[in-house]
Symmetry: C2
Subunit: 613 residues, 2 copies
C-alpha cells in the first residue's frame, strides 16, 4: 500500500451539519459506517454510524477536486467581509485585510460584546460530535430503563447530569416531553465516575462565546486565513493537539512541507506550527497557509533572525515588528512570542542541568546577555498586541525557559517566566487579543500538577499549551511516548492543547511515518483526557469500537480506530486470510481459548434463560 | 545490523556487587561507561559510570559461555540446600525439591521469623543501584555547597531527607563525620518535590525483610528454579514490568520461546509469564525455566484445560491440582489463579459492554455456569495455598472479571471480585504464601485512582500487578501506549508491577520487534513512576543522559538510553556521518539555531564573568 492510499479512511464518508443561527455554517464531520450485529439466532440489528471530529478540511471530502496549486476555498471570506469592520489593503504587490481604525475584530472582542460569530457556532456544533443523533438512537433502542445495558445507562446519566434547558431540548427533533420525563426517572450514578472538569453536557454557541469572553478559550483564526475552519482551544472543550512541520537549513522543500501539512491534518492534527528556519520562509508559509484547513502557528523570531543573517546581536525591535506584520498580513493564526523571558532570569539558567532548550528562548536570552538590555519583546508588548489585534492573530506566549531535563523541572527560571506570562496575558486581553500560554517540557509525573495549577492561577485561566511534558529523559527514540504520558496527565488536569513530540525528538528530523505515529499517539492521549474530563460524547467511539470487538465485527473495529490501516495491518500479519475478518476468535488465543467467545456464550445463555421466564 | 547484535549494549560491561551478610551473594549490574566532558578551555573532567538494573542474568555477562541446551547455572541451589529445610524427591523419573514436612520455606515465612535470606540481601543491593558510589562521587566533586549545581543539590536533598543512621553511613567508605556535617548544613528543599510514596533513602536487607513480612512485597523464587536471580515486587521498590510469551495453537516452537525469553529479559523484563496453550506445554516450560534468570509466571488453568482436551465442562479440581503440583515441582515462580471469580458474579457480566475478556476468567465463568457450582479454585483455596507453600510458589490472584472496555471500568463484577481477592490474600498469607493481586484492564484516567486505593484497602496492601490499564479503546495498533499511560499513572499511585501490552494487543501475536517496543515502553513508564515516587537513585540516569545531551556527547547519550540502538539509528537517519557524533549541534535546528549551543555560550560567559570577580 502506498502512502496516498492512507489518505482515505475506510468505511467513512464526509457529512456536514448546518448552523441554525448562521445557515452559512457547514461543519464537517467524518462518519464511520458500521455493519449489522448478527445475533446467535440469526436476527440482525443495525449499529448507528459514528461521527468523529475531522481536521482534514476539504481534502477529507471525497467530492473535493481542488489542487494544492489553487489552494483551498476561502470558506470564511464572506463571514469576515459581511461584518463590515475590516478593509482590504494593497501595497507593494501584496493584498491583505485589516481592521478598520478603531474597530475590535478579534473573536474575543466580539465575545465581549455578546456577539455570536459564525466561527463560534461552527465550533459549538463541531464540539458536540453529532450527539443529538446518538442520544435519539439510544432512546429509540432502549425506551425502558431496565433494558438498558450499564454502559448505555452510564451515557444517559452523564447526559442528565447537567440538563440543557427543556426548551433547547425540545428543539431537538425527537426529544419530546415524554422522553424528558423518562430521563428524570434515572437515578443511578456511580460516584467515582464524576470527573473534576467543568464540562457542559451540551455545547451551545452561547457557551462558546462566554468561554472566549472569559479568556478560558480561543479560536485562532486570522482574518487573512479564510481557508481555516474554526476550532476552539480551551479546557472545557475537546483536548487539541499540534503538529510541528517546517524546513530547517539541513533539509526539506516547499512542496514537501505542504505534503507534511496534509499528512498531519489527515491523522488529526488540530493545528500545525510552521517552524521553518531555512531559505524561502515566506514562500513556504504562503503554500502552507493557502492549503491549510487548520490554524497555522509560527515563531516569528526565527524569520527575524534569518533577516539579520543569523546574527543574534543584530536582532532588534524594528526587524521583529516588520516580520510580525508580514506574517499577520499573510494569515498566520497564532504566533509564539517569548516575551516572558526577562534579562534577570537568564543568569539563573547557568546552573541548570540543561540550560535553555527552547530555540526562541535561547535566541532572546543571548540577545539580552549581549546587549545587557531587557528583552525587546517584553518592552514592546503593547505594540505587539496592537498589531495582533488588527488581524485577529492569537498569541501563544512562549516558555523560553522551559526545563529541558527532569532535573530542571519547576525550577526558579521556569516559574519566574510563568508569572510574567500571566502579566502579559492580562495585558494582551486588554487589546482584545486571544491568548494561550506555552508550557514545558521535561517534567516528572509528580511535578505536573504544580505546572497546571500555577498556570491556571497565575495566568487567569488562559488556555495552557504544553510540549509533552516528557516524564523521563532516558528514552530517546521513544519520546513520543514519554511525552504522551505527561500529556495525557496534564490534559486531564486542564491543559487545552498538546504539542506533539515525535520519536525522533532529541535525535533527528521526523519523516512521514514519525509524524503519523506522533499524531496518533497524541490523539489517543488527548482522547484519554477527554474521557477523564467527562466530555459528553467522547466515549461513544470507545463504546462502538468495543462493541464491534466483542461482536467480532473486525472491519468495524479497524474502521473505528484512530489508525485503521495500522490496526488492519497488524491483524493481517498473523491472520492474513480474508475470512479471518469474520472469524469468531482471534489469533491471540486461538479458537478454543477465546475469552470473548466464551463470554458471548455466557451472554447468550443468560438471554435464553431470561426469555424462558 | 542483525538482531543478535542487539543483544549487546554498547559502552557497557557487567559488574558485580558482593553481599556483606551473605558473601555468596553477587548482584549483577550493567555499568555504562561515559566519556570525558571537554570544557571550552580544553580542560576535561571525567564522568562517573552509571550502574543500571540488569535483568539479563548470565547472558548479560560478556564472559559467560553457556548454551541454552545446558541451561543457566543454578545460582541459588546452595542457598536453598544450606537452609536444611527442604528435601529432594525422585519419582516417575522426575526430581524436585520440596519443603520437609512442617517446615515453612517461603521467603514470607523466613521474613516472619526475622530471618534475612541471601535472596533478601540480593534484592536490597539490587534496588540501591550502586548509590553509595554515586554519592561519594558527588561529595568529592562538589565539597562546597555553593558550588553545587541545582540538580546535584536536589539529589543531596533527597539523600538527607531520610538520613540513614550515622553508624550505617560511616560504614560506607568515604562517608566520614566531616561529610555528615556538611550534609546537615543543607537546607534547600523545593516543597513540590516531595512525593507521596513511602520510599526509603537507602534499601537495607532489614527493610526488604520487613516489607515481605508485612505482605507489602514479595520475592517470587520457587526452590525448584535455582537459576532465578532474586527480584522484589512491592510499591516501595522500583516498579517492575512483566512480559508475556508463550506459544498458542496457531504459532510458535519451543526454541523460539526461549529466544523470546532471552530477548524480553535483554530489554528489561523483570518477570516473564509463559502463557502457552498449545502442544508440548510441559517441555516448552522446561526450556524456559532452565534458561530464565527472571521469575517465570504461568496460568495453570490453561494447561489443565489442555489435559481435558479443551472441554471446559470436564475441568475439575483433581486435574487442576495435579497441574499445579507439576508446575510447582518444575520451578514456576508464580501462578495466576482466578479464584476470586464467584458464581454469583457471572450473571452480572451479561449486561457488560465486553463481557469477560480474561482467558482464565472466561474459562472459570463458563465452568461455573455449566455446573451451577461455585468456582472450584475458590472452594479449594486452602489446598492450593498448602501446595504453593511447599515450593515457595507465589500466587498472583487473577482478576478474571477485569473490564475489557472503558464502559465496563470499575463496575460491580470487577470490584466484587477485588473484594474476594482481598479475602484470598489474607488466607494465603496464613500459609506463608507470597501474594500479589492482578488488576485491570481498560480503565479511563479518572477511574484509575479508585482501583489503586480500593486494592490497597481491600487487599491489605498486597502488591498490585496490573495489565496496563488501557486508558482508551480507540487505538488498536497503539495499545502499548494507551497501556503505558495508564501504567505510569497507576504505578505512581502504588502499583508494583505492570504487565506489558504490545502494539499487537487485540489484533495479533507479537513478533520480536513488538516485544522490544513493548518492553522499552513499559520500562520508561515504570521509570517515570520511579521518579515520581521518589526512588532515591532513579534520577541519576536521567541526569547523566541530560548532561551528556547538553554537552553533545552523542554516544554517551545513546548508551545511557533504554534502547541505544534505536536512538543511534534515528540519529543516523538524519546525520549519518561519523563526525556528526561529535557535532556541537544536531539535525533538528542546524548549527545556527541550536538552543543547546546558544545556552552553553551563556553558561560559558557566566563562568568567565565569575572568574573575573
Amino acid at each position: 500500500m502506498n502512502q496516498s492510499d492512507l489518505l482515505n479512511y475506510p468505511g467513512s464518508h464526509r457529512v456536514y451539519e448546518q448552523g441554525k443561527l448562521h445557515p452559512e455554517v457547514k461543519v464537517a464531520f467524518r462518519e464511520i459506517v458500521q455493519s449489522d450485529t448478527v445475533l446467535p439466532n440469526g436476527e440482525t440489528h443495525s449499529n448507528s454510524p459514528i461521527r468523529v471530529y475531522d481536521c482534514s478540511g476539504p481534502w477529507g471530502d471525497e467530492n473535493y477536486q481542488g489542487t494544492i496549486e489553487e489552494g483551498l476555498p476561502p470558506m470564511r471570506a464572506d463571514w469576515i467581509a459581511r461584518r463590515g469592520d475590516v478593509e482590504e489593503v494593497c501595497r507593494d504587490g501584496r493584498v491583505w485585510m485589516q481592521a478598520k481604525p478603531g474597530r475590535g475584530i478579534t473573536q474575543r472582542a466580539y465575545a465581549k460584546h455578546g456577539i455570536i460569530t459564525p466561527e463560534m457556532e461552527y465550533v459549538a456544533i463541531r464540539e458536540n460530535l453529532g450527539r443529538e443523533q446518538t442520544f435519539r438512537a439510544i432512546y429509540d433502542k432502549y425506551p425502558n430503563e431496565k433494558s438498558r445495558p450499564d454502559y448505555v445507562q452510564h451515557e444517559l446519566d452523564k447526559f442528565t447530569q447537567e440538563m440543557p434547558r427543556p426548551s433547547e431540548l425540545e428543539a431537538i427533533e425527537g426529544f419530546g416531553p415524554n422522553r424528558l420525563e423518562a430521563r428524570e426517572n434515572l437515578s443511578y450514578q456511580h460516584p467515582s465516575r464524576k470527573s473534576g472538569a467543568n464540562m457542559p453536557t451540551f455545547f451551545t454557541s452561547e457557551y462558546v462565546r462566554d468561554e472566549i469572553a472569559a479568556g478560558r478559550a480561543l479560536i485562532p483564526v486570522n482574518i487573512n486565513h479564510p481557508e481555516c475552519e474554526p476550532m476552539i482551544i480551551g479546557r472545557n472543550f475537546l483536548v487539541k493537539i499540534n503538529a510541528n512541520i517546517g524546513n530547517s537549513s539541513l533539509e526539506s522543500t516547499m512542496a514537501k512541507e505542504v505534503e507534511k501539512l496534509r499528512w498531519a491534518v489527515h491523522w488529526g492534527a488540530d493545528t500545525v506550527m510552521d517552524l521553518s528556519t531555512g531559505k524561502d520562509i515566506h514562500m513556504t508559509r504562503e503554500w502552507i497557509l493557502r492549503n491549510s484547513p487548520v490554524p497555522i502557528g509560527t515563531v516569528p523570531i526565527y524569520q527575524a533572525l534569518e533577516k539579520v543573517n543569523g546574527r543574534v546581536a543584530d536582532l532588534n525591535w524594528d526587524v521583529f515588528r516588520d516580520t510580525l506584520i508580514e506574517q499577520a498580513q499573510q494569515g498566520v493564526d497564532y504566533v509564539t512570542i517569548h516575551a516572558g523571558l526577562l534579562l534577570r532570569f537568564v543568569n539563573f539558567t547557568a546552573r541548570r542541568m540543561s540550560g535553555i532548550v527552547s530555540r526562541g528562548g535561547s535566541i532572546m536570552a543571548k540577545w539580552c546577555m549581549i546587549h545587557e538590555q531587557e528583552n525587546f519583546l517584553y518592552v514592546h508588548w503593547d505594540e505587539i498586541c496592537a498589531i495582533l489585534a488588527t488581524y485577529d492573530v492569537a498569541v501563544s506566549i512562549g516558555d523560553g525557559l522551559r526545563p529541558g531535563s527532569i532535573a530542571d523541572a519547576n525550577d526558579f527560571p521556569q516559574l519566574a517566566e510563568l508569572e510574567v506570562q500571566g502579566e502579559l496575558t492580562m495585558r494582551a486581553w486588554k487589546y482584545g487579543v486571544q491568548v494561550m500560554n506555552e508550557g514545558p517540557g521535561h517534567v516528572p509525573l509528580h511535578l505536573i500538577k504544580e505546572n497546571m495549577s500555577k498556570q491556571l492561577a497565575w495566568c487567569f485561566e488562559a488556555p495552557f499549551y504544553t510540549l509533552g511534558p516528557l516524564v523521563t529523559d532516558i528514552a530517546p527514540g521513544y519520546d513520543h511516548i514519554t511525552g504522551a504520558i505527561g500529556g495525557a496527565m496534564i490534559a486531564q488536569q486542564g491543559c487545552s492543547m498538546l504539542c506533539y513530540v515525535t520519536r525522533k525528538e532529541h535525535l533527528g528530523l521526523p519523516d512521514k511515518e514519525d509524524v503519523r505515529e506522533a499524531v496518533v499517539t497524541y490523539k489517543l492521549a488527548a482522547h484519554a483526557a477527554d474521557l477523564a474530563k467527562g466530555h459528553p460524547s467522547a466515549q461513544l467511539r470507545d463504546n462502538a469500537l468495543s462493541k464491534a470487538r466483542f461482536e467480532f465485527r473486525w472491519d468495524d473495529q479497524f474502521n473505528l480506530s484512530l489508525d485503521p490501516y495500522k490496526a488492519k495491518e497488524y491483524h493481517d500479519k498473523t491472520l492474513p486470510h480474508a475470512n479471518a475478518k469474520k472469524a469468531h476468535f482471534c489469533s491471540m488465543c486461538g479458537p478454543d481459548f477465546c475469552a470473548m467467545r466464551l463470554s458471548q456464550d455466557i451472554r447468550n445463555r443468560d438471554e435464553k434463560n431470561n426469555n424462558l421466564i
